[in-house]
């Protein structure tokens, strides 16, 4: 099966029902996308499919054939993603960092879709779990990106 990931087409040998997450990690060796729960509960596996944030742990690869998949490895090639990463650094968001690929993906997808998201937009989009509890810093960074200096 041919999958377009980070603007490169890969010929992938895997069954169609294999979760995209494991093809990204194991077949392609892109380990920035993380496994946390396998049930679309935590969001650590978030990638973008045609710009829409998607939980790759429950996304069979045959459902994304012919679509453009973006993983964290290519995030800085996206102008919005680059800004998100810069703010993640400025706000010193990550702690253990394990969920942060997914958080950056979620923030990037939100801001690509909505340049100036409202508080409700942010709350609806930034739902990934963080066991280190970096939620205040995530919120402050996203609010800043949304054009409003975030206070935590």
């Amino acid at each position: 099966m041919k999958l377009s990931i980070n603007n490169e087409v890969h010929d992938v040998e895997a069954d169609g029902d294999t979760p995209l997450l494991w093809v990204i990690r194991d077949n392609l060796g892109l380990t920035g996308t993380k496994y946390g729960c396998g049930l679309a509960q935590c969001g650590a596996c978030s990638v973008m499919v045609d710009g829409v944030v998607t939980r790759s742990c429950v996304t069979p690869i045959d459902s994304v054939e012919g679509r453009e998949i973006t993983t964290i490895e290519a995030i800085e090639n996206d102008p919005v993603g680059k800004r998100v990463v810069e703010k993640w650094v400025e706000y010193q968001v990550p702690q253990c960092g394990y969920c942060q690929s997914g958080q950056v993906m979620a923030a990037t997808a939100l801001l690509r879709e909505t340049q100036n998201p409202t508080e409700d937009d942010v709350a609806a989009a930034m739902v990934n779990l963080c066991r280190c509890g970096t939620y205040n810093a995530i919120h402050a960074a996203v609010k800043d990106l949304a054009g409003e200096k975030g206070g935590a």
Partner: protein
């Protein structure tokens, strides 16, 4: 600055000590990762090698041998071997700040990774090495300063030889030695090789910087690992790969103490896509495949008849098939014995009989998962020379090495422990019998003759995760005629994590079982804190802030219960009980001020909701903390709007990291009090994933406001102390708001009405 420029585990081969390396491949990898080619890898400075680090261990004073810790490269970057594992707590950055300050090198020029196992790194009391107990910085602060100062002196000596001038004529500025007469500058990187040939000066005789001149210690430096973690480049154990590696998934027995009897469908599973082999492990079956997903599907498909394991000397606990966490909690609460005294002042019995009012209540807590987002994994590779390389999440490399030596028969020196970044830990990655995947990875690597990486699915993790202990505490409190507490007795029926792991000694107590009931500083004249030991059928573990994670909840909520009974304001009561303790009085006033002045409520907020505030304090891990929480209720559920928290860790290294750690600890504490609970029925956990074991979500996170108070007292811990006071602050606010006492956690299961 990064410590991984490509998507491979950090291995010693990445850092040549003068040996030839495959430059072209490295260049390719670095270039593809966007790094300046050769920037980090062509170092021939002070080489760090396992032989060098491990030789003559009987002679080693931990933390003194500069070459075991530092490599200074020609480009003036500095590779530091951290004795402590990084799992989000910021210790890599703190180590670079401390060493850099004395070495006179900008912490931003540091590349930090975890040191291999070895006697050089046993920095806690010169005996052990763990990343835990909020011990890292406070236990190593002085040693790491001396180490940096010793290294600086070696570089000065090398420069004196090279420039043929007396050392007194030299000074340093970050990364360089300067000849003060000629102005000539020599980089550390160019001196490193000469410095290596010098003997390491006695760290106790080197001059340390005057703290008033610190440039990096005490400053809110940015963390060294943030960019990598924001771009997916940080490498965790689960990400590690080596050439020729295969992957394994396991299916654990539903209860500990069961072994594989028959596998009913082994042939069918062996024929499943990608499956290479099926294996029987102690208490589990495993499937090996090239791809983990194939292994997982197959491992879950195995139909196993589990049989009782005949293992009388086992270190794990045989989980009975009728174990119920709810019944166990009742059993603890109904314990009637007086227990063994841990702390006693005065005569609590006569004080209680003289008291104007006596209050009695029993408080309870719940089992908890660690819930670190990275599921456990281990990659094991046997090498041609018989040695073993192993990558795994761990908080104690030498302890893991020593255990692996026992199970493999290898010498410790043949076992290379790699400790990648931890995707959260919170106490999860100590040695726990049957709860670490490394024995499985080792056995499988032997059986298949290739490197094997075992990953536990979230479901297998929640089945084997050892739990935060459970307790029931019977309190008796006495009030005088003015409503002031004069006596308190707390008898906890529980088991501490250490005694659960090393064996209960009837003649001594596990201090971690009661910390937070013990060690309280309120001026209550007559008191007795005691434990009734009750063995828990489940495996127990350390969990962020350990005993404090539950005991300060018990004590501080009961204190509010006493305050209510005596018609005292809980904040004012605490100030009265602490009036002779300047440090805690200051801290409590600081958090009150941070919150805009103490107001208990209930009051009506601007948005029309009715809210109340609660306060809690704790003295965990050598630090002092106090928190105030503001809550409201919606549809019977508690909403926490704000938490104000003050921490006094005595003296500090990085205030920004401390603030981040307090927020993190507050979030985990909140998650515990609001919603978390591991429920066992019939010997099995009801929840095997986050769907049935919810943890704090972003929309449930309050604004956490932190004040760091630097009292100048002895340096305390940072990673854990922020957690304990949050629980009682929330519970006390809820009691004020609802008029109902909160005597157990989590709040989610209580029927609360506003």
């Amino acid at each position: 600055m990064t410590n991984n420029k490509d998507n491979r585990p950090v291995t010693r081969e990445d850092f040549p000590s003068g040996a030839p390396v495959n430059i072209s491949r490295r260049r390719f990898l670095l270039a593809s990762a966007g790094a300046t080619a050769g920037a980090l890898v062509l170092g021939f400075g002070l080489p760090i090698g396992p032989a060098r680090a491990a030789q003559g261990s009987e002679q080693i004073t931990p933390g003194t041998r500069v070459p075991a810790f530092l490599e200074i490269r020609p480009d003036n970057t500095i590779r530091l071997q951290s004795p402590f594992v990084e799992g989000g707590q910021g210790v890599f950055t703190a180590m670079a700040q401390i060493v850099g300050e004395e070495l006179d090198a900008d912490p931003e020029s540091f590349v930090v990774e975890v040191a291999p196992a070895g006697s050089d790194y046993l920095l806690i009391n010169n005996k052990i090495r763990i990343t835990g107990g909020s011990n890292s910085v406070r236990s190593s602060y002085s040693t790491m300063r001396k180490l940096g100062a010793s290294a600086r002196l070696m570089l000065l000596q090398a420069a004196a030889g090279r420039l043929n001038v007396p050392i007194a004529q030299l000074k340093t500025e970050p990364g360089y030695v300067i000849n003060t007469s000629s102005g000539e500058k020599v980089s550390y990187g160019s001196l490193a090789k000469d410095a290596l040939d010098l003997s390491v000066p006695d760290g106790n005789s080197v001059e340390l910087r005057d703290p008033s001149t610190f440039r990096w210690i005490g400053k809110p430096l940015k963390r060294l690992d943030i960019l990598d973690k924001s771009t997916g480049k940080a490498i965790y154990s689960i990400d590690c790969t080596v050439e020729g590696m295969v992957q394994a998934a396991v299916q654990h027995a539903p209860r500990l103490g069961l072994d594989v009897g028959r596998i009913l469908n082994e042939a069918d599973v062996s024929a499943m896509k990608g499956v290479m082999s099926v294996h029987r492990l102690p208490g589990a079956v495993a499937v090996v495949a090239e791809r983990w997903w194939n292994a997982k599907i197959a491992a879950e498909a195995l139909q196993v008849e589990w049989v009782k394991r005949d293992d009388k000397d086992a270190k794990y606990r045989y989980m009975p098939d009728d174990f119920s966490s709810a019944a166990f909690s009742d059993r603890l609460a109904n314990e009637e014995s007086k227990g063994i005294t841990a702390e006693e002042e005065g005569d609590v019995n006569s004080a209680l009989s003289d008291a104007a009012t006596v209050v009695e209540a029993t408080y309870r807590n719940q089992f908890l998962h660690h819930g670190q987002l990275e599921p456990p994994s281990t990659l094991a590779r046997f090498n041609e020379d018989g040695s073993l390389d192993i990558w795994m999440p761990n908080q104690a490399p030498e302890q893991f090495q020593s255990t692996i030596a026992k199970i493999t028969g290898l010498e410790a020196s043949q076992i290379n422990i790699h400790s990648p970044m931890l995707g959260g830990f919170f106490g999860r990655h100590f040695l726990y019998p049957e709860a670490n995947p490394f024995p499985q990875a080792i056995q499988l690597a032997k059986e298949v003759g290739r490197p094997v990486k075992v990953i536990w699915s979230r479901e297998e993790e929640f089945l084997r995760d050892p739990l935060r202990p459970m307790a029931a505490v019977r309190f008796r409190g006495g009030l005088d005629a003015d409503g002031m507490p004069v006596a308190i007795e707390a008898i906890s029926a529980t088991e501490g994590p250490t005694e659960s792991l090393t064996g209960h000694n009837p003649d001594s107590l596990d201090p971690l079982a009661l910390e937070g009931l013990t060690g309280k500083t309120y001026a209550i004249a007559d008191r007795r804190i005691a434990q009734v030991y009750v063995k828990t059928p489940a495996m127990l573990a350390y969990w962020r802030s350990v005993g404090h994670s539950m005991n300060d909840f018990f004590y501080e909520t009961f204190l509010d219960e006493l305050a209510d009974k005596g018609s005292q304001d809980p904040y004012e009561l605490r100030l009265k009980l602490l009036k002779d303790n300047k440090r805690l009085t200051h801290l409590l006033k600081a958090v009150g001020e941070l919150s805009g002045g103490w107001k208990r409520g209930p009051f009506t907020a601007e948005d029309g909701t009715t809210r109340a505030r609660g306060v809690g304090m704790a003295s965990p891990f050598g630090s002092e903390t106090a928190a105030i929480a503001e809550v409201s209720m919606k549809n019977g559920q508690v909403i926490v709007h704000d938490i104000w928290e003050a921490i006094d860790p005595g003296s500090i290294v990085n205030p920004a990291i401390i603030e981040a750690q307090v927020k993190s600890a507050a979030a985990l504490g909140l998650s515990q009090i609001l919603m978390e609970e591991v429920i066992y029925e019939k010997g099995e956990p009801a929840a095997r994933n986050y769907d049935l074991y919810p943890i704090l979500r972003p929309d449930q996170m309050p604004n956490v406001h932190v004040r760091v108070v630097e009292s100048g007292a002895k340096m305390g811990g940072v990673g854990e102390p922020g957690l304990p006071p949050v629980l009682p602050a929330v519970a006390n606010a809820v009691s004020t708001l609802t008029g109902q006492r909160v005597r157990e956690m989590p709040l989610r299961k209580l029927r609360l009405e506003s």
